[in-house]
C-alpha cells in the first residue's frame, strides 16, 4: 500500500507567473482520486512534480509504496523504441537501472571478451536477479499476452510505433496495474481507448487496491471510478472527498463560500478604514482619542498584513453562442445511401431540431458520412440532399486542417472562408475572448492545446451561421468545463445537430442514435450503443 502527500508546493513558470501556490493534499492508501481542472491549469505539471520530473520552488512531496507513472504522450509514441524498452521505462527505477547495466555489460562483451568484462557481466546479471528482474520478465510476458495476445519473446523487438494508440495505452496500463508499484499516476489513461477499452479500464481501476491519481476528461470514467476529486483551479488545489455525482454541487458551494468570506473580509476592511479615519479626526481634539486612534491604526495594519482570503476562482470564460436558424422541416434526406466499400445502403430522414448521435465501431465510415453531408467529395451511391435553408457547419477532428497550422487565430478569422465572412481584429478579439482564447489570438493554430483548438473550431461554427452542425468527436480534447459549455450551447442551438462521438456522457444529451455496425449495417437504436466490435477488413 502507498500514499502521496503533497505539502505547500509552489511552482513558478519560466515567465515568472505562479502556476501553483501552496498546494497541499493527500491521496491516502487505496484511494482512486481524479485530478481535474481546465486545460492549462497545471494538472500535468502537478503530476510531474509528484513523479519527481520537476522540482517545485517550494514545499515537498512525500510518497511511499513505489511510483508507477503513465505519461500523457503514451498512445502517440512515434519514435523507434521497442516494446522491450517501453516496458523497461515503465518499470521501477531499480529494475530500470539494473536492466541498463546488463545491456551495457552485454555491449562491452561484444567489444572485449576478457575476464574483467565477463565478471562485470556476471555481476550485472546477479544484480538483475537481486532486484527481481526475472520476476519482472514473467510479468512482462503476462502483460504482452493480455494486451497484445503474444508472449513477450514474440514481440519484444517490435517497434512501439507499429502498435495503435489503444494498444500502447493498454500495454502501459496492464504493466502498471500488474506491476509492483503501489502508487500510480495516470495522465489521461483513457485517451485512444474505444468504449469497450474504457469499460475495461474502469473495471480494473475499480478492482485495484493500489493508490491511483488520474487525469481524465471522460465524465463517465470519472463518475464510475473516482472516489475523490482533486481540483486544480485558481493556482491552488482543493479536494472533494466524495464521488463525481456530488462534485458539481460541492464546487458551486465552495465557490459561494469563498465569495462570502471574501465579501465579509472586504466589509470588515472598509469598516476598519472608516473607523481609523473617524478616530483620526477626533484625535486632533482629544489626547485620549489619540491613543485609541493609534491602537486602531495598528489593528488595521495587522488586518491588512494577514491579507484577504482567496477570492473565488474566475469562472472559465467560455460562452458559446451557436445561433442557427429556422430551416425546412426535412434537413437531411438519404435514400439507399451507401458509402462505397464502407457500409450497406440505408435510408435516413433527419428533421429540423433533431439531435442525432452517430455511434459505432472505428473504421465503419462515420467520419466519411459526416464529410459527405458537409459537401466534401466522398465516393457513394444512392441519393442524399439537404433541405431548404440548411447550411452545414463541419467540426473536424483537429488533424484534418493542415493548412491552418501555421496561421494565427486572428489571421484565420480576418480572412474568412467561403460561407464565413472575415471579421476585423476588434470583433475577432471580442469573439476570442468569449471562448477564453483572447491570449492566444496571435499564436499559431499549431501551438494551441487540443482543447483550445477544439474551442476555436466551435467559434468558427458560430461565425459561419450554420443551421446544421456536423460534429466529429467534438469533446475529445475538451476539458470537463468546456465540454459542459458546449453541451449547453448545443441545447440552446436553434438548428439540427449530427455528431460522431465515443463520449458516453455527451451521447446521452442526444435524442436519436444512428449506429454504424461492424457488419456494415446502419440502423437506428433507441439507446446509445457502444459495444460494436471493430470493423475487420481485408487489407
Amino acid at each position: 500500500m502507498g500514499y502521496v502527500d503533497v505539502a505547500g508546493v509552489r511552482f513558478t513558470l519560466p515567465d515568472g507567473r505562479v502556476l501553483l501556490d501552496d498546494v497541499s493534499f493527500r491521496v491516502g492508501e487505496g484511494a482512486c482520486a481524479a485530478l481535474v481542472g481546465e486545460n492549462g491549469a497545471g494538472k500535468t505539471t502537478l503530476l510531474r512534480i509528484i513523479s519527481g520530473d520537476l522540482s517545485p520552488d517550494g514545499g515537498s512531496v512525500a510518497r511511499t509504496g513505489g511510483l508507477g507513472v503513465m505519461r500523457q504522450f503514451i498512445g502517440s509514441v512515434r519514435d523507434d523504441i521497442t516494446v522491450e524498452r517501453f516496458l523497461v521505462d515503465l518499470a521501477p527505477p531499480a529494475v530500470r537501472d539494473a536492466w541498463d547495466a546488463v545491456e551495457a555489460a552485454e555491449l562491452a562483451m561484444m567489444e572485449a571478451d576478457d575476464e574483467p568484462t565477463q565478471m562485470a557481466y556476471a555481476s550485472a546479471l546477479a544484480h538483475w536477479g537481486d532486484v527481481g528482474g526475472y520476476d519482472v520478465e514473467v510479468t512482462w510476458d503476462t502483460v504482452t499476452v493480455a494486451a497484445l495476445g503474444v508472449p513477450y519473446d514474440g514481440c519484444k523487438y517490435r517497434g512501439l510505433d507499429t502498435l495503435s494508440g489503444g494498444e500502447q495505452k493498454r500495454l502501459a496500463l496492464e504493466c502498471l496495474l500488474r506491476g509492483p508499484d503501489q502508487v500510480l499516476l495516470l495522465d489521461e489513461p483513457d485517451n485512444y481507448l474505444d468504449v469497450p477499452g474504457k469499460r475495461w479500464l474502469e473495471e480494473r481501476l475499480i478492482e485495484t487496491r493500489k493508490t491511483v491519481l488520474f487525469v481524465s476528461h471522460d465524465r463517465e470514467l470519472l463518475a464510475r471510478v473516482a472516489d475523490r476529486v482533486v481540483t486544480v483551479e485558481g493556482g491552488g488545489v482543493w479536494v472533494h472527498g466524495g464521488d463525481w455525482a456530488g462534485y458539481p454541487a460541492a464546487r458551486t458551494a465552495r465557490h459561494e463560500r469563498m465569495a462570502e468570506l471574501r465579501k465579509r473580509w472586504d466589509e470588515e476592511h472598509e469598516r476598519l478604514v472608516d473607523l481609523v479615519r473617524t478616530l483620526q479626526q477626533q484625535a486632533k481634539n482629544s489626547p485620549d482619542m489619540a491613543a485609541r486612534y493609534h491602537a486602531m491604526q495598528t489593528r488595521l495594519a495587522k488586518f491588512e498584513a494577514a491579507g484577504p482570503p482567496p477570492d473565488r476562482p474566475p469562472e472559465q470564460q467560455v460562452a458559446m453562442r451557436l445561433r442557427g436558424g429556422r430551416t425546412g422541416i426535412r434537413v437531411v434526406v438519404a435514400g439507399q445511401l451507401e458509402l462505397t466499400g464502407l457500409m450497406k445502403p440505408f435510408d435516413l430522414d433527419v428533421d429540423y431540431g433533431d439531435r442525432v448521435a452517430v455511434l459505432g465501431a472505428n473504421g465503419a465510415g462515420k467520419s466519411h458520412f459526416l464529410r459527405l453531408l458537409a459537401g466534401q467529395d466522398v465516393p457513394h451511391t444512392g441519393s442524399w440532399r439537404l433541405g431548404a435553408r440548411v447550411v452545414p457547419g463541419f467540426f473536424a477532428q483537429t488533424h484534418a486542417h493542415p493548412d491552418w497550422l501555421d496561421r494565427t487565430l486572428v489571421d484565420l478569422l480576418w480572412h474568412g472562408e467561403p460561407g464565413r465572412p472575415g471579421v476585423d481584429r476588434g470583433r475577432a478579439m471580442a469573439t476570442l475572448r468569449r471562448y477564453g482564447l483572447a491570449a492566444q489570438g496571435d499564436q499559431l493554430f499549431r501551438s494551441l492545446s487540443g482543447g483550445q483548438q477544439a474551442r476555436f473550431q466551435v467559434l468558427l461554427l458560430e461565425l459561419s451561421g450554420a443551421t446544421l452542425l456536423l460534429l466529429d468527436e467534438p469533446t475529445d480534447n475538451l476539458d470537463v468545463l468546456s465540454a459542459e459549455s458546449l453541451e449547453q450551447a448545443l441545447a440552446a442551438y436553434d438548428g439540427t445537430v449530427v455528431a460522431v462521438t465515443h463520449d458516453r456522457w455527451f451521447a446521452r444529451t442526444f435524442d436519436r442514435f444512428l449506429v454504424f455496425g461492424a457488419d456494415g449495417r446502419v440502423y437506428e437504436a433507441p439507446e446509445p450503443v457502444f459495444d460494436e466490435a471493430r470493423v475487420q477488413r481485408t487489407r
Binding site: D113, E115, Q118, M119, A122, L125, A126, W128, G129, Y134
Partner: protein, 69 residues
C-alpha cells in the same frame, strides 16, 4: 572449497557438460584435471550469479582462462 560447489545437481550437470566440451576443445594441449580445476575455480568465482545463467557464464570464463594459459 568443495562445499562451495555443492549446489543443485542440475547446475553441476550443466557444468559437467561444460567440462566435457572444454576437454574436447583443449584436450590436445591440457590434461583433463587442469580443465576441471579451471572450471571449478570459475564456478567458485561466479558464485552468486543467477542459476540459469551460470553454465554459460562458467563455460565462457573457463574458455577465456584456458586460452590465456
Amino acid at each position: 572449497m568443495p562445499t562451495a560447489l555443492a549446489r543443485s545437481p542440475h547446475q553441476d550437470a550443466s557444468i559437467d557438460l561444460a567440462v566435457s566440451r572444454l576437454v574436447a576443445e583443449f584436450g590436445h594441449r591440457l590434461d583433463q584435471q587442469t580443465v576441471v580445476g579451471v572450471v571449478r575455480s570459475c564456478r567458485q568465482d561466479l558464485s552468486g550469479s543467477p542459476a540459469d545463467a551460470l553454465p554459460e557464464l562458467v563455460e565462457r570464463l573457463a574458455r577465456y582462462r584456458l586460452t590465456q594459459d
